[in-house]
Symmetry: C2
Subunit: 99 residues, 2 copies
Amino acid sequence: MTGGILDDSQAETLARMFKALGDPTRVKLLSIIAAADDQEACVCDLTEPVGLSQPTVSHHMKLLVETGLVAREQRGRWAYFSIVPGALDALASTLASSS
Amino acid sequence: MTGGILDDSQAETLARMFKALGDPTRVKLLSIIAAADDQEACVCDLTEPVGLSQPTVSHHMKLLVETGLVAREQRGRWAYFSIVPGALDALASTLASSS
């Protein structure tokens, strides 16, 4: 990947990202945000599609934000989450360049 | 991703794949195979770069094979592992199509 063998630090960074995505709820939350207008969604719109409480959704979103794939912005009462531009592409090309 | 919100079954399949990649050793093993000639490597060539015993490497490889990203072929004494053609691309485009 990235055209060669990864060093330990690169492997750890990628593994952390993959690990956060290794949960069906988080994959689904990511796909909901990616499919939304402007690739942005309010936490208040994320609970119903996954059938979970807002604290649980907020916990999953925190882990996604920590990957760097998703950004969080507080606007008044609600947190809004958006796909970090280019972040999924970067992960995708790391994978694609290896095959 | 895949141009819309994933259903539960798609989300579970992707999450399983990501989960298997959520380990630095497995990410590194995958990158070693991807960087090898013909994207294929003998288990006997995988132990030294990651500094692990062959049974441990074989365990990691088993989990990677279960993702469908890597194929295993026994030739005489040794197992050979190869990148399944198109599998990393497919995972990559699932990610990329969402951004």
